[in-house]
Structures are given as C-alpha cells and as structure tokens.
C-alpha cells in the first residue's frame, strides 16, 4: 500500500512538470513578457522605459531559460523559468500584481471556498443518489420517465440562469437571505444558504441522470436476481446490494473532485461576492494578472492528481477485491 502510494506520488511528478512546462510555454514563450507589458499598459502609455519598469516590478526582466551573464549556478537559477515556474514546486507562487503574496492569499481564501463547496458537495451527493435510486426503484414506469424528462430539462438550463433567477427570487423578491456577501463564523450561515441551494439544484439534472444509468446497469446483474430470488424486498435489494456495488463507478467520479473543492466555484463565488479562491481566479482573469492565473493552474492540477490518488485508495475501502500493489 505504502509502496504503491509512493510510486503514485512519484508518477505525479512528471505530470506536474508537464503542467509546469505547458504553462511556462503558454505564458512566456508564445508571448514574450514585452507583449504582456504592452497589453497591460495599454497603447497610450507604452514606452520602452514603461515596459522595463513593468517587467522589473514583476521580475520578468531576466532571460527565459539560461542566464549567460550570471555566475555559477545562477546561470540556471537567475532566470524566469527557475524563479517563476520551477519555484511553484515548493508552493512559492510569488506576488500578485497588487503586491500581495499569492500563497498567503490562497491560504486565507481557501476557507470561504470550502464553506460553500463542502456543504454543496455533501448535500448534492445525498440528494442526487436518493433521486437516482428512486428513479431506479420506479424504473420503466411513468414516474421514472417523468424523472428522466425533468433531468434532461434541468440539465439543459444554463447554470447562469439558476444563479440569476435564484438571486432574484429568494433575495430580491422574498428577502429571505442577503443577495451576496460573506461573514466569518456562525454568521456566515445566512450567506451560504442560497449559494449552496443553487449549487445543489443546478447539479440535479446531469448528476441524477448519471447515477441512474449506473444503478440501472447494476440492477441488470445476476446477483440482483439472486437477491430477489431469496425473497428480499425491492427496497432492500436496492439499498443493500445495488447501492453497495454501484459504489465503484460512483467513487470514480466523486472522489476525484473532492480536492478540487478547495478551488471553489468561479461562477457562484463571483455572483455572491464570496472572497474565496474562485472569485480570486475570476478577478485575476479579468484583471489579466498572469501570476495568479499561473498559480491557480498549477494548484488546480496538483489537486487533481491528489484526487486521482485518493480515488485509487477509496477503491480499496469499498471493494475488497482491489489491492494496491
């Protein structure tokens, strides 16, 4: 088990290097720092000096990969690649355009993101699985068909619609909760209620339908027929047998996203003014803060890989046949 984990982590390193090289190529080779400076400064204020100061402020005034003028190991370390890209491996993300430490921002903004994303995830998962199990229970009947139709309808609606109409109805018309904002501690409850609700509702369509497909595949198996032949009730068959065996395909999709919950949701956070990582990313994209975007790309892929490893571990928990070697 431990040997397997170490191997998986070692296997993750080349992937992270790949991500790193890709972002480096995207941000510094496709366009030189000069181009970025020109873009950000606007056409009016572009002078060679302005570009130089812009680059110096952000530390982009070094050679890309190899610094011929420096001495010794500095030839490799005093470069954009080493200082901006390679340093991300030790979680040193540098500074954003407004001069704050990105690592620190990430740490403080993680909590609000999680406060929204975690309840959303848990409540959603329970609801979707229950709904899907109900549809499976009534499979082939009108109820099932109505459920599937509802799912297709719900998944055809844009997520923007859920947010905009939810904010309008619940906050503006009925005044149940504030439209947006965030507060720490127990006070945050009334702020997170609506985003969580909207998040859960907007996922019903696609998720429930997906779980239903998984359950239906399991229901057709032989062990289910055996269980029924033993005289078990349909409910018992579903909850004790089908649900347990459907865990593997469910986990494949679910566990992988758990680490990504830290990243928050771009849309929800920006609409509800929640100071999490999602709104941080969106602000950075809109302000064209390349440093922050780069950091988030790296963080996102690192968390994704953690998710893959967690998925493998979760298999051993639910399926005794799986052994990690």
């Amino acid at each position: 088990m431990i040997a397997y984990l170490i191997r998986r982590i070692l296997y993750a390193i080349p992937i992270l290097i790949g991500v790193n090289l890709l972002t480096f190529a995207l941000f510094f080779v496709v366009n030189t720092p000069d181009d970025m400076a020109r873009m950000q400064l606007g056409i009016k204020r572009v002078t060679p000096e302005a570009i130089e100061t812009w680059k110096k402020q952000r530390g982009y005034d070094k050679p890309l990969m190899f610094n011929a003028q420096a001495a010794g190991t500095d030839k490799l370390t005093d470069t954009i690649f080493f200082q901006k890209s390679a340093s991300m491996f030790v979680l040193d993300f540098g500074y954003s355009d407004d001069g704050r430490s990105i690592s620190r921002e990430i740490l403080t903004r993680m909590t609000p993101s999680l406060v929204i994303a975690l309840p959303n995830f848990v409540v959603g998962l329970l609801l979707y699985i229950t709904f899907a199990l109900l549809m499976t229970l009534f499979r082939g009947t009108l109820l099932d068909m109505a459920g599937v139709t509802l799912c297709v309808l719900l998944m055809s609606i844009s997520s923007l619609f859920y947010i905009i109409s939810g904010q309008f109805l619940v906050s503006k018309l009925w005044h149940w909760v504030p439209i947006s904002g965030y507060a720490g501690g127990i006070d945050s409850l009334r702020f997170i209620l609506l985003p969580v609700l909207i998040g859960v509702v907007s996922g019903i369509g696609s998720s429930s339908r997906w779980y239903r497909t998984i359950f239906l595949e399991e229901v057709g198996r032989d062990y289910v027929r055996t269980a029924r032949a033993k005289g078990l009730s349909e409910l018992r068959v579903l909850f004790r047998h089908v649900l347990k065996n459907a865990m593997i395909p469910i986990l494949t999709g679910v566990v992988a996203v758990i680490p990504l919950l830290f990243m928050g949701s771009l849309l929800t956070e920006s609409f509800f003014g929640i100071p999490g990582l999602g709104s941080y990313t969106i602000d950075a994209i809109q302000a064209q803060d390349f440093g922050v975007v780069r950091a988030m790309v790296f963080l996102g892929s690192a968390l994704y890989i953690v998710g893959l490893i967690l998925t493998d571990i979760s298999y051993t928990v639910v399926d005794p046949r799986v052994r990690l070697q």
Binding site: I15, L22, D35, I157, S158, S159
Partner: protein, 469 residues
C-alpha cells in the same frame, strides 16, 4: 454585382462541415449496414422532432454565415465602393429588426419607452412622461384604445397564416415525396408506418405557426422588447444562434483529428507511443478546464493585440477570436474522447477479425482505416453530439467570466453578460435575460434530446432486436 462576398474564417469552417456532412450522408446512403442505426434514429419520435427544431436553428445560423459587403452609391467614376459594414443574408432578411432601434429599454410589445423623459407639449410646457416608441406600435393613432386589440388581432392572424403555411408545406412535402417514389400519397404514408410522420408534420405546423406569429408581430412591435441601447432583443437572440452553433460544431471539428488519431494510435501501437500519448492527455486533463481555457485565451488576447495588422476590420478580428476560442476549446476537450477511443481500440485489436487481417499481412495503416476506424465511429458520433450542448452552455459561462467571445460578437454569453445587472433595476428589466435563456434552453434541450435518441440508435451495447426487412 452590387455586393462583395466576404468569407470569414468561421463561415468557411461551417460550410466545410456542411459539405463533409452531406458527402458523408451520400456515402453512407450506399452502405446498408451503415444506414441501419440511422434508420433506427429516423424511427424515434423524440429524435426526429428535436432534429426538426435543431434544423430550424441551423438554417438561421447558415443564413447568418453568408456574409457580404453592400455596394455604396457610386460617385461616377465607375469604381465600385463597398460599405465597411459586413452584413449577412440573415441581416438582410431581418433588416427591419436590425434598423429599428429605440432610445433605450422597452418591454416586449410595448408602445411606450421604459424610462420617463421630459417632453414639450404643443402649448410650450414641459411634461415628464413615457414617450412613444419610434417604431414599436408606431402605426397606432390612439395606443390606449387600440394597443391590446391590435396585438390580439396580429397574434390571431399570424397564427392562422402560420397554420395555413404549415399545412400547405406538409401537404407539399408528402405529395412530392410520394410522387418521387411513384406512389399515391396515401400509399406513401402507409409505407412509412415506422417513421413518426404525424409527430414530425405536427411539429412542423406548430413551428410554422410560431414563425407566423413572430413575423406578424415583429412587423409592428418589438416582440421581445429592446435592450439598453434600444436594439431589438429578438434580433440579438437570433444573431446569437450562429455563435452557439459555431462553438458547438467547429470545436468538435478541431477536436476530432486529435482524439481520433492519438486515441487509435495509442490503442493500436501500444508501447512507448501509448505512454507518450497517455502522458500528454493526463497532463492536459489534469489542468482544470476553465483555467486552461482562461490562460490560453489571455495569451490569445496578447497575440491579437500584438498583431493588429492581421485584421482589416473589427468583424474579422472578432471572427478570428471566435475561431481561436473554438481551437482552444478543441485542444482542451479532446482528452476524454481520446481516452474512450484508446480503450475501445485496445479491445478491438485483440478481436479475431483484426488478428486474421494481421495474419494475412495487411498493413497496419490499412487495418486501422478499414477495420478499426469504422468500428469506433459510433463512439465518435455519440461524443460529438453529446458535446454540442455542453459547448453551447460553456460559451455563456466563458463569456461571463471574460474569456469567451469578443464583446462585439453577438452570443448568448455576451447577451447575458450585458444584461446581468438588469434584474436589479426597478421595475425589473427581465426580457433580455428571459429571451437569451429561453433561446438557449430550446437549443440545448433539442440537442440533448437528439443526442439521447442518437445514443439509443447507435450504441451497440444496448440490446435490441434487429428488425431485418
């Protein structure tokens, strides 16, 4: 010739796709075994009705993809001068909608403007009231009295004209199809017992009625109101369709070669090729989609900014940005299909008929093109149709985030983005958002339903009794 044809990049892509589609259909028509799943599809009621709705959207999109520049009145020396504005055939058809702009917001079918204004009365006093619209209901002498009855009259006559047109069209289609097969209409209908003819013709008539209604109302009112700068929302929504279609289809065109080539190569060749390709797609898929797209779009903006000389007009620039967006979406989204194809090819290459071909000394290339590719095509087709609706939805989100299409391009995303503060107004300006969301809902719903019908027809894993004629 009093116009100059303008072919934008995305136009070329769309018509290329259309040509490929027609050629593919013609080719498949001659292979009965390939037609079998299509015949199953043609028998699905939901599939055919959604296909009808989709084709309505597609025809608007196609009309909107034929661009030209109109000739300006000449000044005598015989040299043709063309307007700088690039228009499409759709613009020409809907020129009234396009040119009838009001001052600012107005509600659907309204006669008065949304905001009060100071007006001068004939006796010299100023009065603050809602002014009449320039175009909406301009033909009414006394709007207080006539407005409602005029709208109802137009609705009824529009519905009737649409119904009449729809019925005539349906009859025409049936008689034409029957006479081509040299049957009477009754025999032809009876011979099509499996096809959901009733549902199709019924929805055709319904659609015709809806069109009749809209056209009749749009002649005198703003059917879906006007937006902040007074543009007709119906026109903007119809124009947005093209962008949605381009994103949904051109992206798959970009993605397919990657997914097909790399997926099959990895599955068939195995060894180090497989390792390298797996590595590439693991790296790409490990970056969260939105972030990768955002990073790439940010860099694309820098490039576009740098090479201002590439574009002769802002339309071309916006169009190239749309194309780049499709490219980026394609490059970031081929991984899942590639993984599927790799898995399927791994399974296929162990099957007896492939081994037989290998034993006969058939070259790898020939095995791939003759035996593997045709047998994974159903996966590709299903994936392409399934991706379409999610891409249309993604466009809106990306445009909202600020990494979508150019702000000057009409799209559902820009429409929603521009209108996102309107729900906070008092009284609420709901019509722009409602229009954008309902157009999107209909398009995506039709695409989803069609995708389901397609999967049911094409997926060989679904057990079904094959009916052989």
């Amino acid at each position: 010739m009093n116009f100059k044809l303008v072919i934008l990049w995305t136009d070329a892509m769309i018509f290329l796709l259309l040509a490929v589609g027609i050629a593919g259909a013609w080719w498949m028509k001659q292979k009965p075994h390939l037609m079998l799943p299509w015949q199953r599809l043609f028998k699905s009621r939901v599939g055919m009705v959604s296909l009808l709705v989709l084709s309505l959207f597609v025809s608007v999109g196609l009309l909107d993809s034929l661009h030209y520049r109109a000739a300006l009145p000449q000044n005598g020396n015989g040299k043709a001068v063309y307007a700088a504005e690039v228009l499409s055939v759709f613009d020409a058809l809907a020129s009234e909608l396009r040119s009838h702009t009001e001052k600012t917001y107005s509600a659907p079918l309204a006669v008065y403007l949304y905001a009060k204004e100071s007006m001068e009365t004939p006796d010299g006093k100023t009065l603050r009231d809602y002014p009449r619209l320039k175009y909406g209901g301009a033909h009414l002498a006394d709007p207080q009295q006539q407005h409602v009855s005029d709208v109802i009259k137009r609705i009824l006559s529009g519905l009737f004209a649409g119904w009449l047109g729809g019925v005539l069209l349906a009859l025409l289609i049936v008689t034409f199809a029957a006479s081509r097969r040299r049957m009477t209409a009754r025999v032809w209908v009876a011979a099509r017992s499996g096809t959901p003819l009733n549902a199709m013709l019924g929805s055709l008539i319904l659609i015709a009625m809806l069109i009749g209604l809209t056209v009749n109302l749009a002649g005198a009112y703003h059917v879906l109101g006007t937006d902040k700068v007074g543009q007709d929302v119906l026109y903007l929504s119809l124009k947005s369709i093209r962008t949605g279609l381009v994103i949904g289809t051109v992206t798959t065109l970009v993605m397919l070669p990657f997914a097909l080539f790399l997926g099959i190569a990895a599955g068939y060749l195995r060894g180090w090729v497989d390792d390298v390709i797996q590595y590439i797609y693991t790296v790409l898929s490990s970056i969260p989609g939105v972030l990768l797209i955002a990073a790439a779009v940010l860099m694309m903006q820098v490039t576009i900014e740098k090479h201002a000389e590439w574009f002769s007009s802002s339309v071309e620039r916006a169009d190239l940005r749309l194309l780049f967006l499709c490219l980026i979406l394609g490059v970031t989204s081929w991984t899942s299909l590639c993984r599927l194809l790799r898995g399927e090819t791994l399974k296929l290459r162990e099957l007896e008929y492939i081994q037989a071909a290998q034993a006969f000394g058939v070259s790898s290339l020939r095995i791939l093109t003759r035996h593997i590719v045709p047998n994974v095509m159903h996966i590709v087709l299903i994936a392409v149709v399934m991706d379409f609706s999610s891409l249309v939805l993604a466009e809106a989100v990306l445009s909202y985030v600020g990494v979508g299409v150019d702000p000057s391009t009409n799209s559902f995303g820009t429409l929603i983005n521009n209108a996102r503060l309107e729900m906070g107004r008092d009284p609420v300006v709901w019509w722009t958002l409602a229009a954008a969301f309902s157009f999107m809902l209909v398009l995506v719903l039709a695409a989803n339903l069609f995708a389901d019908a397609m999967r049911d027809a094409f997926d060989p894993r679904l057990n079904r009794t094959v009916d052989v004629k």
